[in-house]
Amino acid sequence: MANQERFAEEGEWFDLTPAEKKLIGWSLGLGIALLGILVWISYTVIPVQH
């Protein structure tokens, strides 16, 4: 019975909360920033050796 109640409760959609928006924004921002840094490192500090 408890599971049934939880099922219904979790089935209801609600718009993105501020916390979720923050998670998405920070994750993506950090990802893009780190990507830039890692690309820089890979081209300067650890360059490809042919």
Binding site: G11, E20, L23, S27, L30, L38, S42, V48
Partner: protein, 487 residues
């Protein structure tokens, strides 16, 4: 067992999370005894892709090679029955009913797995020649999981009396968490084996984590929440399943955010199905367009193909296809295995951070997303929420890395054999999970939850950007690197 006895027992011995840790560590420890020259669990059954049924089953260790496969399977069943019954008893289950339930569940699950390993169903393109067959559905050995899920769904929905008869042993969460604890050792072993590889590939493999966790994840989460109207309970495991590595990432995320067990398992089954589609398409696309950039092609397989098995198979396939094309089109013969290594290295790095990501999500969900207005969150709430089996995963990974990193090649081989035996149990726990989750899933409810929408999100994300961003990142980090030339 009386309620009083169960209630007075430490939480360390009465929750599935902790019992997953104990059971996983126990099996892992038995596998490690191989290093001391003791082959304690070498009799565990392993299922191979087969055309002749008599060759489907065999003991995992060569030390037991004279043992018939069926005896190995019976021993595996008895061992699992004993250890899980002890755990179930400690958690308050009725042992008699557990034994009956587990027995039925085990044998049906294993039958599904054997069917799923049939050559025409499971063989990947690189195995076709060895088996001497012209085609197969290329579903890999993981097809058994899908068949187990379907069997569970059919039995659960068409014969509810069966589910009631075995319900004491229907413990999908416990099974999958135990499997993930053992998985830590397998990933640790792969990491050990990577330490001797070219530093460039390892560094670039690390870079892949950034993409999988920090770029893929939020985009998939946003799309599923905003445009497909999934709740966080579905969106988070879906994002992890599509972005990171199917089964384990989806389950760990499900645990961290306290999703119902059905959520990550349904996501995982989608991941397995789509991984097959990728396995059929991507290696051939790479051969056509990336034969002059072999390491880009290898890394791309690791980034885009979302299950370990299918990613490794894609890596092996792309390795064979591109080397053959380069020999004719470029007149160069590259050493075998480097593209496969790029694919598996990228995948291993992605897998390693599953525990870290689960921990981060547990904190975010406790502090923000699931927090009710005015509710105070203490460290104990985070601890309570944290999926404890992830500690087991981290422990087996760390132990393996510690003892394996200084080993000689020979000792590492022995360690690999021991871990391989423990890993055979992991496969069985995975299969048990899929069957039992099928038993407790109701078709009607799955439809209500939006199974069709899940598949559409997956399709859009995978072919809309995951494959292309993966190719872009692989190009940035791996272009210009070529394998050594033969001779």
């Amino acid at each position: 067992m009386s309620q009083e006895t169960t209630a007075s027992r430490s939480p360390l011995f009465k929750t599935e999370d902790w019992w997953a840790v104990w059971l996983g560590l126990f099996i892992f420890a038995l596998g490690l005894l191989k290093l001391a020259g003791v082959d304690v669990i070498g009799w565990v059954v392993k299922t191979s892709v087969w055309l002749d049924l008599s060759k489907a089953l065999a003991p995992a260790s060569k030390a037991y090679q004279g043992m018939p496969g069926i005896i190995s399977l019976i021993l595996t069943y008895l061992f699992l029955l004993l250890v899980t019954a002890i755990g179930a008893y400690s958690m308050g289950a009725r042992v008699g009913r557990y034994i009956t339930g587990f027995t039925l569940i085990f044998w049906i699950t294993y039958a599904c797995w054997i069917i799923g390993s049939y050559g025409y169903i499971a063989a990947t393109p690189d195995q076709l020649a060895k088996l001497g067959i012209p085609w197969s559905l290329r579903l890999t050995g993981e097809a058994g999981f899908i068949i187990a899920l379907i069997a569970g769904l059919l039995l659960g929905n068409l014969w509810p009396g069966f589910t009631r008869a075995v319900e004491e042993a229907v413990k999908p969460e416990w099974f999958i968490k135990t499997a993930i604890v053992i998985l830590g050792a397998t990933i640790g072993l792969k990491a050990c084996q990577s330490t001797g590889l070219a530093g460039q590939v390892v560094f670039r493999g690390f870079c892949a984590i950034v993409e999988a966790y920090l770029i893929y994840w939020p985009i998939v989460y946003f799309i599923s929440r905003k445009y497909f109207r999934f709740t966080p309970e579905w969106a988070a495991p879906l994002a992890s399943g599509i972005s990171i590595c199917g089964v384990s990432a989806a389950i760990a995320t499900g645990g961290a955010i306290k999703a119902r067990p059905v959520v990550p398992v349904i996501v995982s089954s989608l991941v397995i199905i789509f991984a097959v589609v990728e396995l059929i398409i991507l290696p051939f696309a790479a051969q056509a367009w990336l034969y002059h950039e072999p390491m880009v092609a290898g890394a791309w397989m690791g980034l885009a193909v979302k299950t370990d098995g299918a990613a490794a198979a894609s890596g092996a396939l792309v390795d064979a296809l591109i080397r053959s094309k380069a020999a004719t089109a470029l007149g160069v013969q590259w050493q075998e295995g480097w593209m496969l290594m790029a694919a598996t290295t990228v995948k291993v790095f992605i897998d390693i951070f599953i525990a870290v990501w689960a921990f981060i999500l547990a904190i975010i969900w406790s502090y923000s997303i699931d927090r009710r207005p005015g509710e105070k969150i203490s460290a104990s709430v985070i601890w309570e929420r944290f999926p404890k089996f992830i500690l087991g995963y981290a422990a087996t990974f760390a132990i393996l890395l510690l003892i394996g990193s200084g080993m000689t090649k020979e000792t590492l081989k022995t360690l690999q054999a021991g871990v391989g035996q423990a890993d055979a149990f992991r496969g069985i726990f995975f299969a048990l999970t899929f069957f039992t989750i099928g038993l407790v899933s109701n078709f009607k409810k799955l439809k209500e939850e939006g199974m069709g929408r899940l598949a559409v999100v997956y399709l859009i994300c995978l072919f809309g950007f995951i494959i292309w961003i993966g190719l872009f990142i692989s190009w940035i980090f791996f272009h210009g690197i070529t394998p050594p030339v033969v001779g």
